[in-house]
Amino acid sequence: MQAPVIETRDVKKHFTIGEVVTRAVDGISIQIHEGEFVAIDGMSGSGKSTLLHLLSLLDRPSEGEVRVLGEDTSRFPRQRRVSMRLTTFGYVFQDYALIPELTALENVLLPQFMQTGCYASCSKRGEELLARVGLGDRLHNLPNQLSGGEQQRVAIARALVNKPRILFADEPTANLDSDTSENIMGIIKELHGQGITVMMVTHEPEYAARAERIITLADGRVVEG
């Protein structure tokens, strides 16, 4: 069997506020394989976003291992983690997370500019990606000139610009109406169809059902999947 692209071994994340310890992720061991579409669901406060942050190297576990492409990331220096987020991962945040001073095209091209040093002459890929998410005519609009759904599509285009192996999406439809949510889910499903590993956090069973596999969390533990 193929080695997992992401694997956790008894990973834990605890937050301490005063004398209160919150066990957001409490000993999770999972494996994600290349090309999988995995949905992480659960009630609010179940630890699904925290788990996604750990898997995507946005946060460090309190205990346990997060292995990416066979390597234990706990030993990664900061720069290596940043580099992996740039080259291997793509992110779609819940609230779009675009840079307000950059146009749609500039937002999309920024990670590519960082990775390759190529900007103006490499803008074609950004234009193609925006066209692919239906924003070919909004290249030079600033985020505040776009609707929520349009901003989320820009965020998806940005996540894809460096051809990531794994796409992380943290409740990508949370702030969108049902039509727009359908549109976003369609794009994500299409990307999975093209071979990208997708890990998506959602609390909506309807969208979780679109995934190949659902990991359900409760109180920081896997209860199903």
Partner: protein, 424 residues
């Protein structure tokens, strides 16, 4: 190395976007602060240093000329003055000179009215100067310093010009103004047209005050001027024994070279030959250094204030963009890129502020002060702001801004990525 350059390029790209599409009011505020700080650092120091230099220039223009010839230390007068005058006039670079007789005397006002023995007489001691009115005016423009009455004329005999600091209405009459138990510090109620009694070497005479002189240098404001022939006659002095020769040179002639020529020609045997600067002694250098130190102190404080201001402004800007910084880190933009974008931003603000400052300094302030010197009591205040000094101060300000911009950016960027994204 390549990665570093790429990070800086992306940082510069982000800075341009922040500048172009960020809040114009925040940018305007920071640029204004940098502009005012630059002017504070350069102009305040320039005016402070300009004070002693302005005083020195006043001394040269109103009194000493560019070269001053005075008696040797062990001599009462300049020997062979006529020969010296002829010699200096024949040298290259010479434009004009004035030779003066000096004496001391006592001026008494209201001398006709009987006075109680217990009261101080209204009298004051002063230096008397015998001048050729025309020659003096060519060298020091003394006539332009007459603030009341008229200037001396060639044929005047028993008339004097009185320095303003010898008159109570200008100088006051206090111990600080020079009063002694025997003489008051200044004369009261003396105006042009009044007669005073002047005692020179125990010889008393009555003189009409024809005018009042007020200059920036004490040598003019505390002296009494009369026509040289008359004073020489009163003193019984030879025409070949004068006390001061002030020389002005043609435009472009160097005072040091001219003075050296006179010394080399043997004039040093008869007189002391000094440039105006030399005649003012070490005091001028000391006071210039002191004002320079003060200016640097004020400038240093200005730079510290600017650094703190930029720190706070960039900190607020970065704090407001904390979430975006987290997102940038989240999508793989490294710290150097993010930090450099804020450093470039501070440098851009500083450069624009300093650029505006240079334009205003050399386009408005410096020409204006050159045309309209600041009227300080003891000098015409000028602005000393040489390009090299301004450039150096601009660089120091940019370097300070760079650090002040870097520190807050680093503080914010160091925050854990997920905390920055989630704003916790």
């Amino acid at each position: 190395m390549y990665m570093t350059l790429r990070s800086l390029r992306v940082g510069f790209f982000l800075m341009l976007r922040y500048l172009r599409r960020g809040s114009p009011w925040a940018s305007l505020l920071i640029v204004t602060i940098m502009f005012l700080t630059f002017l504070n650092v350069v102009v305040v120091r320039g005016v402070l240093v300009g004070l002693p230099i302005g005083a020195s220039l006043s001394y040269e223009h109103e009194y000493s000329g560019q070269v001053l010839v005075t008696p040797l230390a062990n001599q009462r007068h300049i020997d062979r003055t006529n020969y010296i005058e002829q010699f200096i006039a024949a040298q290259e670079g010479y434009r004009a000179h004035t030779a003066r007789y000096l004496a001391s005397g006592v001026l008494r006002a209201d001398f006709e009215r009987p006075q109680k023995a217990s009261l101080l007489p209204d009298q004051v001691g002063a230096a008397l100067v015998g001048i050729d009115p025309y020659a003096e005016d060519r060298v020091t423009q003394l006539s332009s310093l007459v603030i009341e009455g008229r200037y001396l004329r060639e044929g005047d005999t028993s008339v004097v010009l009185v320095g303003s600091q010898l008159l109570e209405r200008y100088a006051g009459n206090t111990p600080e103004s020079g009063g002694t138990p025997e003489t008051s510090g200044s004369l009261s109620g003396v105006y042009p047209g009044d007669t005073i009694r002047l005692t020179i070497d125990d010889v008393a005479g009555e003189y009409e005050v024809v005018g009042v002189v007020e200059g920036k240098v004490g040598e003019n404001s505390r002296r009494v001027f009369m026509v040289d022939r008359h004073l020489r006659k009163v003193l019984g002095r030879s025409a070949d024994k004068k006390d001061e020769v002030a020389i002005v040179l043609t435009s472009g002639a160097a005072a040091t070279a001219y003075a050296q020529t006179l010394r080399d020609a043997g004039l040093a045997e008869f007189a002391t030959v000094q440039t105006s600067r030399e005649s003012q002694g070490q005091f001028l250098d000391d006071i210039t250094d002191t004002f320079n130190l003060l200016g640097n102190g004020v400038g240093f404080i200005g730079i510290i204030v600017a650094a703190i201001t930029v720190f706070i402004m960039i900190f607020i800007v970065a704090l407001n963009r904390q979430k975006q910084i987290g997102i940038l880190k989240g999508i793989g933009i490294n710290r150097l890129t993010i930090e450099s974008s804020y450093v470039f931003l501070s440098i851009a603000y500083a450069s624009v502020g300093i650029g505006l400052g240079v334009l205003v300094l050399y386009g408005v302030i410096a020409p204006y002060i050159a045309e309209n010197p600041i009227d300080f009591p003891f000098a015409d205040g000028i602005l000393v702001a040489p390009w090299d000094d301004t450039f150096a101060r601009g660089l120091i300000l940019i370097a300070t801004t760079l650090i002040a911009g870097y520190l807050p950016a680093r503080l914010i960027v160091q925050k854990p990525t997920i905390n920055a994204i989630l704003g916790r």
